[in-house]
């Protein structure tokens, strides 16, 4: 009797080693593992989308539905067919219609969400940092809170000035005030700290993934050896 866990373990071990072989440079085994990963992932996603999306949300309403559900599904079906005309050389311009609809919709939603979900709340958060409730503690000034709020405000202004300075430097005859020059230097420090923290986080995530794979191999070998 074939032990499926054993086969899956061997395959997983081989694929893991094939991916790790990239440490020695690009090679056939690494490319083979990548092609396998992309192919299996695409096939899995396609099967899942057909089963969970296309059939229940498109085919069934067209066949069984009535009223609004039928017409909405018909519109979706029409857009899908228009999108498929991209493979027809003569009528491929018809594919622009659903693409334009999608891109326009996504752009509008993104801009609105960015303004409503990030820009306005972040600006308000900086302003709220200077509210008296946060700056006073037991009727005494909370100097640490004040320093934090000032540092946050300084960081935001300095980074904005840095980007303004960065883009103005490309223009001819662009002269900046000394205060602006110095503040943009402070902005560079803030940006450097942010990028450093992001890099450390990305490395930590990658390292945890590596440790997870090594621990998985270790557990597999220990189990095979009977420990």
């Amino acid at each position: 009797m074939i032990n499926l866990d054993l086969i899956a373990g061997i395959l997983g071990l081989l694929l893991t080693i094939m991916v790790f072989s990239y440490l020695a440079g690009d090679n056939l085994f690494f490319r083979l593992a990548m092609h396998l990963l992309i192919g299996v992932g695409a096939g899995y996603a396609a099967a899942l989308l057909i089963q969970l999306v296309l059939i229940p949300h498109l085919v069934q309403p067209l066949l069984l539905g009535s009223g609004n559900a039928f017409y909405l599904s018909l519109a979706v079906c029409l857009f899908t067919l228009l999108l498929l005309t991209v493979f027809l050389g003569r009528f491929n311009h018809l594919a622009r219609l659903p693409l334009a609809f999608l891109i326009g919709l996504i752009a509008a939603v993104s801009i609105f969400g960015l303004a409503r979900g990030t820009l306005a709340p972040q600006m308000l958060a900086i302003v709220n940092r200077f509210s008296p409730e946060l700056l006073y503690k037991d009727n005494l000034p909370d100097w640490m809170a004040l320093v934090k709020a000032a540092a946050m405000l300084l960081g935001v202004i300095a980074v904005l000035l840095y980007f303004d300075h960065h883009f103005s430097r490309g223009q001819n005859n662009a002269k900046l005030a000394p205060l602006s020059e110095n503040a943009s230097g402070v902005g560079r420090i803030f940006i450097g700290i942010t990028f450093g923290a992001i890099f450390a986080g990305v490395f930590a995530t990658a390292l945890l993934a590596l440790i997870g794979r090594i621990a998985w191999i270790q557990n597999l070998l220990m189990r095979w050896l009977g420990y």
């Binding site: 440490l23 020695a24 440079g25 992932g41 899995y44 996603a45 899942l48 989308l49 969970l52 999306v53 229940p56 949300h57 498109l58 069934q60 309403p61 069984l64 539905g65 009535s66 559900a69 909405l72 599904s73 519109a75 979706v76 919709l105 996504i106 939603v109 993104s110 969400g113 960015l114 409503r116 979900g117 990030t118 709340p121 972040q122 308000l124 958060a125 942010t194 923290a197 992001i198 986080g201 990305v202 490395f203 930590a204 995530t205 390292l207 945890l208 993934a209 590596l210 440790i211 997870g212 794979r213 090594i214 621990a215």
Partner: protein, 581 residues
């Protein structure tokens, strides 16, 4: 393209494009040659300029060189073109060609092919033109004299400046084939004429029935003229030979004069039509040259438009010993740290207000509350995410909440199933796939249903609640801060801040912390620890803490080594070697 689009090089006499600043053939400068278009454009201002010059130089001085300078103007010293009957003689040329020339003389031609010499003369007949042209000729003559007598450093192009030639012109010249090697022999003269014209067309042309305005092309006219010129030149040569033979045989002056009459007549035929034949030959040469250039340019365009497959030569791969040393060092350090610090207790993480708020909010969840967990991460980061998520699921399990999971990616389905198995939650826990990502979540938050939902097929986005907002708590799980930003931007405004919690990776901590600071989320967890340093669950990530610290230590060592290595390389270089020191 008309002849006015060219300028004649004063050094080699060949035609160049009107935009050219140097002659394409002899590389001499063309900047100082007044172009026809410029002269025409400045015609209106010319009278004012000449008036100013007249005031400056005086009337006597201006009038004196006019006679000499007049010879510089094209057409000024050339004789008037003789009538056709006088020049060619109707017996020496075909009647159809005479007809064409007659039509050209009487009606004029747009190309100026035949009347080019007569145009200035006709213009001189305009009233008041003579008074304008005389000082103009004087002015041009003085310019010419100053150029010919002065140092010609500006005009003569130094050989070294040939590098300033445009790149496209260099390529054209490089690709230009030698005529004696690869030039395709095409029929010229009469043969080309015969190929392009049918017998019927020639017959109609002879009878004067052919509409040459619409069909006859100037280059064909030029070819015809060239063919006639060649014939005439051969006749002249034959006549001269015959005259020489007669002279040798006659032996007297009278006989020589008699023999020379025929040759002179034939010579007059050839020499007497400089206005049409020579121009036609020049036009033919110019057109031929431009056709050749056009062919070369076409060849370049065709060649460059073809797909190029750059053949990469397989260089012998050097054994990069340092790469292997680095890999072995990395592995050795990992193993050493792992073994050395394996039994050391995990240090408590730094106090994190966002983490504290996260666990406080989780502890406050009531029993039987509706909790939705949105899975938006990739399998590559599943180890870390699951390590952070398992304590959360264990806590929710003890609180006996109504848990449902929804995946924004297809991979999330089996990742969620794996997560449920790891936390020993019942596999009957609802796990759905939400196509459309954040846009679908936005639609769900807004209370919309999928397009295909029917009363018979109630397929809502999230089945245990019609709308996203009906959940008491939503835990958004992600490994990408950009995805979390999009989620919060689209869905956050529909939710109360105490409804949203985020579980993410350590890489996302920096980017997501501001959203907690702005009170858009109730808490953020990026580690399996509580803020007070208590490990909440026995998960793989927590067990691998020594290895994690080992890896971080190795990376820090590599950074320090690379920093010092770069510093050493910088100071090993001599000052100015790379232009930086």
């Amino acid at each position: 393209m008309s002849a006015e689009d060219y300028i004649i090089c004063p050094h080699c006499g060949k035609e160049n494009l009107i935009q050219a600043t140097r002659c394409i053939y002899c590389k001499e400068s063309l900047d100082l040659i007044p172009k026809a278009a410029d002269l025409a454009a400045s015609d209106e201002d010319l009278s004012e300029m000449l008036s100013a010059m007249a005031e400056e130089d005086g009337d006597v001085e201006m009038a004196a060189p006019a006679e000499d300078a007049g010879s510089l103007m094209p057409g000024a010293s050339n004789p008037q073109p003789a009538p056709i009957d006088e020049v060619g003689g109707s017996n020496e040329i075909p009647s159809w060609l005479a007809h064409v020339r007659q039509r050209a003389q009487t009606e004029g031609d747009a190309q100026g092919l035949y009347n080019r010499e007569s145009e200035p003369n006709s213009a001189q007949k305009l009233p008041g033109r003579e008074s304008l042209d005389q000082p103009f000729n004087s002015w041009v003559g003085r310019i010419h004299d100053s150029l010919t007598t002065s140092d010609s450093s500006e005009v003569d192009m130094p050989v070294e400046k040939a590098d300033e030639m445009p790149v496209w012109l260099k390529r054209v010249r490089d690709l230009q084939l030698q005529p004696d090697e690869n030039t395709v022999q095409k029929p010229t003269g009469v043969e080309a004429w015969k190929q392009e014209w049918s017998e019927e067309d020639l017959e109609r042309l002879k009878n004067g029935e052919f509409d040459e305005k619409t069909i006859l092309q100037p280059n064909l006219l030029a070819q015809a003229s060239a063919a006639e010129t060649e014939t005439a030149a051969e006749d002249v040569q034959n006549a001269a030979e015959k005259a020489g033979q007669k002279l040798a045989g006659a032996g007297s002056v009278e006989d020589f004069a008699e023999a020379n009459v025929g040759a002179s007549e034939n010579l007059a035929v050839a020499v007497g039509e400089p206005t049409d034949a020579s121009d036609a030959v020049a036009e033919q040469q110019g057109v031929g040259q431009h056709e050749a250039q056009a062919e070369i340019l076409k060849e370049i365009v065709t060649t460059e438009s073809l797909p190029r497959y750059k053949r990469t030569e397989e260089k012998p791969r050097k054994t990069d010993i340092w790469r292997w040393i680095g890999i072995l060092f990395l592995l050795a350090m990992l193993v050493a740290f792992y073994l050395l610090f394996l039994k050391r207790p995990a240090p408590a993480p730094l106090a994190n207000t966002a983490g504290t708020a996260f666990w406080n909010r989780l502890d406050s969840v009531q029993t039987s509350a509706k909790v939705l967990m949105v899975l938006d991460y990739q399998p590559a980061t599943a180890d870390e995410v699951h390590g952070n998520l398992q304590p959360v699921l264990a806590r929710l399990k003890t609180q006996n909440v109504q848990l449902s999971l929804v995946a924004l990616w297809p991979d999330g389905l089996w990742l969620g199933r794996e997560l449920l198995e790891a936390t020993a939650l019942p596999l009957t826990t609802e796990l759905n796939f939400l196509p459309g990502g954040s846009l679908a979540a936005l639609a769900s938050a807004a209370g919309l249903r999928p397009a295909g939902s029917t009363p018979e097929n109630q397929t809502s986005l999230i089945s245990n609640s019609v709308a996203l907002t009906e959940n008491d708590l939503i835990v958004y799980v992600t490994d990408n801060p950009e995805s979390a930003k999009t989620w919060l931007e689209q869905v956050g405004s529909f939710l109360q801040p105490e409804q949203s919690l985020v579980v993410s990776t350590q890489a996302s901590q920096v980017m997501l912390q501001p959203y907690y600071e702005s009170s858009q989320i109730a808490g953020l967890s990026t580690s399996p620890y509580r803020a007070d340093g208590v490990l909440l669950a026995n998960n793989p990530t927590a067990a691998a803490t020594p290895a994690f610290e080992a890896g971080m230590g190795v990376m820090a060592g590599f950074l320090v080594l690379s920093f010092f290595g770069r510093l050493l390389n910088t100071y090993k270089k001599k000052p100015g070697e790379d232009g930086k020191i």
